[in-house]
Structures are given as C-alpha cells and as structure tokens.
C-alpha cells in the first residue's frame, strides 16, 4: 500500500510503500517483473527460432562474403604477392616459386580435394584458369628455377596479369566478389569494377525478370481479385459464405496439387488445348504452347496467390458502409463516379496490403516456376537452387540469396509500416 510519508515539517515529502521504499522504485520493480514475465513467455520460441532459423540463414549469408579456401591452400604465394600490384607487371620470381611449390603440395594431398576446389573457385572469376592450375600442378614437382619461365611454359595463363590478380583477390578471406558476380560485374586486374563478359551477364536480367513477373502476377491478382472481393463484400452473408468457399478451397489446397493441375490444364495435349481444338479456335496441329514458359508460370502463380489478394481486400471492403455510395448517388453522382470517388479510395488499405503480400510471396517463389517455368519462366529462387545443388557455387548462391532477402525484408518493413504485422490475418 502506498502511503504519504509526513516529514518533520508537516509537509508531504515523497511517496513510499508501507515498507518505506520510494513508490517510484517499487513501481519500477513491478514493471520490470511484468516485463520479464512477458518476455519469458516469448523466450522459448525466440531461442528456438534463433537456433533453427536465424542462425542458419545468417551463416549462409556469411558465406557470400567469407571465402577462406584460396588463402588456406596458397598461403605462401599470397604472402609473396602482398606488395604486388598489376601496375608492376608480372609478380617476382618468389611468387612463381611459391605457387609451383604449393600447387605440387596440394596435388600430393589429392584426397583432400583442395586442388580441385581452388581450381574451380578461381575458374568462376577467370574462366579457363582451371586447366592452368591442374596442368601446372601435375608438372610442378619436377620444375626447376627459374620458375617464372618454367610455369609460363607449362601454361601461358601464368604470363597474364589477370591470373595473378585473381589469386591475390580471392586470397582475401573477406571479399565482395560474389556480390559483384551476382550483379554481372567483376574486378579487372587493376582492381577496377567492370562488367562481366557479354555471355556471362545473366543476373541483372534475371532480377529484372523476377521483378517483372512478380509485378505482373500482383497486378493480375489485383485485377481479378478486386471485383470478386467487391461482390463478396456486398452480397448478403448467406451468399458470400458460399462464394467464399471458392476462394478458401484453393487457398487450403496443396501447392503441388494446384501446380500439377495447371500442368494438366495447360500442356499442349492438355484439357484447355483440347477444348480450344474442339471449339475449332485452333487447329489440332498448332496447339498453343501455354506451359513451360513465362505464360504458364504467370497463370499458375496468379491463381495460387489470388486468395492472398482477396482475403485482405475483402476484410477491408466489408467495413465500408454501403450508405457512403448511396449518399454520393443521392447527391447526383453517377454510379461509376460514386464508386471511383467515394468507394475506391476507402479500399486502398486493402489494396496496399494485398499487393504487398502477393508481391513479397511472388518474388521468392520457387516451386511453380521450377515445375512449369521452362527456360524463360525461371526466377531468382530457381537460380539459387541451381547454384546450391548443381553448379555447387555456394558463394554465388548465398550472394543471390542475400540480394533477394534484402529486397524481401525491405518490402516486409514497408508492409509493417503501412499495414502492421499484428494485423496480418489468415483465413
């Protein structure tokens, strides 16, 4: 219980509790205990997610900047290159000697696989150097001074400044080479950032295509979702509940089921083409290629993500009173004008929420493009998977993932600012 301590002079001094602690301090203590209790409830999940989710992603992203491979296998070579730069011309004789020695050593421990990995890693930066590394390693043990001539004789690549600059650059344990590669750029031998060779410029275009396809899917979803949300929101509950099933059933249906179904519908021997042939719109021999390309991906993704547009739109439209439209019309506005000037602006929070949600989900999509995308319907996620599983260029996969993640988090931040994650509802 709080009581007022009466001082000697008879005027109130300060508030304290029954046991004499100042009220402010006691209140602070209680608040702290309440905060701790609330936090302790959240803590188990926070710890769990940190270990199973945040840490693995952080570790993967770290890979895009941290690359200890080359410095681990060629430490002496890198030491001799410390003061070297491409302006000086070819590196000194010790560098050639050290490289020859270390390549021979790496070949001796061939079970470690280091030589192959270093060769592959260097090759990502300077195409063609792989053969120089492996070929030189084979004869390096028998080489004699002067090493410079011997190595250039073994492979002409060692006479090029670029080879040495590549080794030097990848010798830095921390470098942003993979991020440059992810935006079609690289360092030249003098350390300037230049464009990749023409045939290797694919990622900027890929990011562009991913953005374009996501935008297309988002606007299609808005275009299709807006009218049905309006219909759902303005029908009597009995009708709208029935119609809502048509939105919720696809929402709950497995993604793979729906993707499979789109393959069945869209393939050239598929249902849709059969119908078109039967109607006579297309001939039996020139069936339309609607799948394994961008068209197929966009159609399937629009259908899959449409419920994510309808649900937020519907929940906003339901709260708009129909009397607003009626008021506008009774004041003489034509129906369309009343809709456009009075109703539509009130749906903007729903439009924003739906569009952001669909766009965020679309931009990281993997399954549908992988199954129905074909060559030109692939998105950034598919290339991350490719570099993870097939080309094994994990650093580049991590860099592409880092850029994608940064984009998604920026959109998420925006969503949180405009809509608020607390207001995210499901079903």
């Amino acid at each position: 219980m709080a009581q007022i301590a009466i001082g000697d002079a008879g005027k109130p001094e300060r508030l304290t509790t029954a046991d004499g602690t100042p009220l402010k301090q006691a209140l602070g203590r209680v608040e702290f205990r309440a905060k701790t209790r609330a936090f302790l409830l959240v803590a188990p999940l926070l710890v769990f997610l940190s270990i199973t989710f945040l840490f693995p992603i952080g570790q993967m992203l770290f890979r895009s900047l941290h690359d200890p491979l080359v410095s681990g296998v060629l430490p002496n070579t890198l030491a001799t290159l410390e003061d070297w730069s491409a302006e000086d011309g070819l590196p000194p004789e010790e560098a050639f000697a050290a490289l020859a020695q270390e390549l021979a050593l790496a070949r001796e421990n061939r079970f470690s696989g280091d030589l192959g990995r270093v060769a592959t890693r260097l090759n990502y930066e300077k195409p063609g150097i792989r053969s120089a590394v492996t070929r030189t390693a084979r004869s390096a043990a028998r080489m004699e001074a002067p090493f410079k001539e011997a190595m250039i004789e073994a492979d002409a690549d060692w006479g090029k400044l670029e080879s040495w600059a590549t080794i030097q650059r990848l010798g830095n344990v921390y470098n942003a080479v993979q991020y440059l590669a992810a935006v079609d750029r690289r360092y030249n031998e003098f350390g300037d950032i230049v464009m990749q060779a023409e045939q290797r410029q694919i990622y900027v275009q890929l990011f562009g295509r991913t953005l374009w396809m996501s935008l297309l899917v988002t606007s299609m979803a808005l275009l299709l979702g807006f009218p049905i949300s309006y219909l759902l929101a303005t029908q009597p509950t009995r009708v709208s509940n029935v119609l809502m099933i048509l939105v919720l059933l696809p929402f709950w249906t497995s993604l793979l089921v729906r993707t499979t179904s789109w393959i069945v519908l869209l393939q050239s021997e598929g249902v849709l083409n059969d119908i078109l042939v039967w109607i006579g719109l297309v001939g039996d021999n020139d069936r339309i290629q609607m799948i394994y390309n961008q068209t197929g991906t966009v159609i399937a993704m629009t259908q899959i993500l449409l419920p994510f547009m309808v649900l937020p739109l519907f929940s906003v439209m339901k709260t708009i009173s129909p009397s607003h439209m009626r008021a506008a019309q009774s004041l003489g506005a034509p129906r369309f004008q009343a809709f456009w000037k009075v109703y539509a602006p009130q749906t903007l929070p729903g439009v924003g929420a739906g569009c952001l949600l669909v766009f965020i989900l679309a931009i990281g999509y993997y399954i549908t493009p992988a199954l129905v995308g074909g060559q030109d319907g692939q998105m950034i996620s598919n290339f991350i998977a490719f570099h993870m599983q097939s080309s094994l260029n994990w650093g580049l996969a991590a860099a592409l993932g880092g850029i994608l993640l940064a984009g998604v988090l920026a959109l998420y931040w925006l969503y949180n600012k405009l809509v608020g994650v607390e207001r995210l509802t499901l079903g």
Partner: protein, 285 residues
Amino acid sequence: MAKVSSLPPYATPMERAWYYLFRVICGCVFLFLIMPILVIIPLSFNATPYFTFTEGMLAFEAEAYSLRWYQNFLTNDRWLTSIENSVIVGILSTILATTLGTLAALGLSREKMPQRTLIMGILISPMIVPLIITAAGIYFFYSSVQLTDSLLGLVLAHTALGTPFVVITVTATLIGFDKALPRAGAMCGAPPTTVFFKVILPLILPGVIAGALFAFVTSFDEVVVVLFVASSPEQYTIPRQMWSGIREQISPTILAVATLLIGVSILLMTTIELLRRRSERLRGL
C-alpha cells in the same frame, strides 16, 4: 452488411447490362480459381495413363473410369513410406509449433511486453523469408551438425516454418480477450498453471486449434526444405514424392494423390470455418 448491389426496378438499361456483365466477370474469376481443383478430381479416375479426358470419359462410359491409380497409390511402398513420414513429421512439428507459438502469443499480448513490434517481426519472419533461402540456410547448418537425412531435422525445420501461423491466430484470438478473467481466477486462489489450463486455454482454444491446423498444413505441404535436406526416399514426405512424380516418372498416380489431398484440405477448411463461427458466437459478434 446489408446488400447494396441488387438491381433497383428503375435501373437504366446501361446499369442493367453492367449488373449482369459484372456477375459474368466474377463468375469467370471464380471459375479460374476453382478450375484446377475441378479438373483434377475426375481425371484421377481415368482408366488410361493420360492426363486428358478420353472420349469414353466424356460419354460417361463406366469402363473409361477406374480406381487403378488409387490402388497403385495404396500398394506402392514409396508412397506408403511418404504418408508415414508426412504424418510423423506433421504431427510432431505441429505439437512443437503450437506449444512454442501459443506461449509466445500469450507473452506478446501482455501489456508490459518490451519491443513488441520488433519481436513480432522476428517471430513472423519464417513466413516472409523466401523458402529457398530458408532451405539453403538449413541445408548448410544441418550438414555441419549431421541433421540431414533425418526426420528429426525435418521436424525442427517444419516447426520453425509453422510457428508464425500459431502466433498470428492465437494473437488474433487474444485481442478480444477479457483480462479480468485470469485475474479473477488468481484471486480465487488458483496458481498460474491452473489459471492457464482452466480459464485461459478453454477461451483461446479455437485460435490454438486453428493455428495448429495451419502449422500442420504448412508441414504437410512443404517441399522446398525437404528437397534440400532429405536425399533418400526413406525420408520423403508426400509432397516430395509428388515432386518426383511430376519431374521424373509422370504417372496419373499423382492425380489420385492430389484428389485425396483435396479431400484433406476440404476437411481442414471445414474445421477452421466451424471454429471461426464458434469463436464469433462466443464473442457475441
């Protein structure tokens, strides 16, 4: 809300035309939404191994239909293993996700919760981060701690992916929660655990069950993480097996599986809807 778009008797022909056109447009969109589901069900009874309607099917001849793909599904060891894995992983990860997520939602809804928005953002992030990035991260992490090729690894990954749904649904239920009730329970002398199980849990149960169903569906439908961390058919789940079915040996068995999965989703949707109505009724909405 009262209906607003019925056609008044004094409507002009233009208004009349637009009224019907609008309904036709909406009908087409609904058809677009539901068509994949409508098409796949009859095709799964196809007697021939093709993905199109045969002439016999269109003429409703009995011999054009068969249950052979269902039979194939239920007698194939690979599919049976995948069902078993999906159920095990789904149930375990649902239990874990529901427990962790409900506790976190209770904490988040407390008035004194520090840094609420930031923590909510972190807890929701598994739903927002593109699956391929999550899968890649988990793959590297699991390789370093020997968790690849184990159902335990899948359970942990699916738990992480399922928790945001539990947090969101339970938080939504707690918004209308009367905080005087647990206080009354405590004043009657009940310890906190009794208050939770006797007072709080029964009231938030619809949200908890809905969250649990979402978590289960997330696990039951997830394929990207499985693609990365389960390398042998021993650990395949149903979606992973379907993925192979689509990519490698195209067989209409996957249509039968798809139809059965549609049945599962109808079941889940109905449950969620009943729960939603119940909680609305309880709250007097």
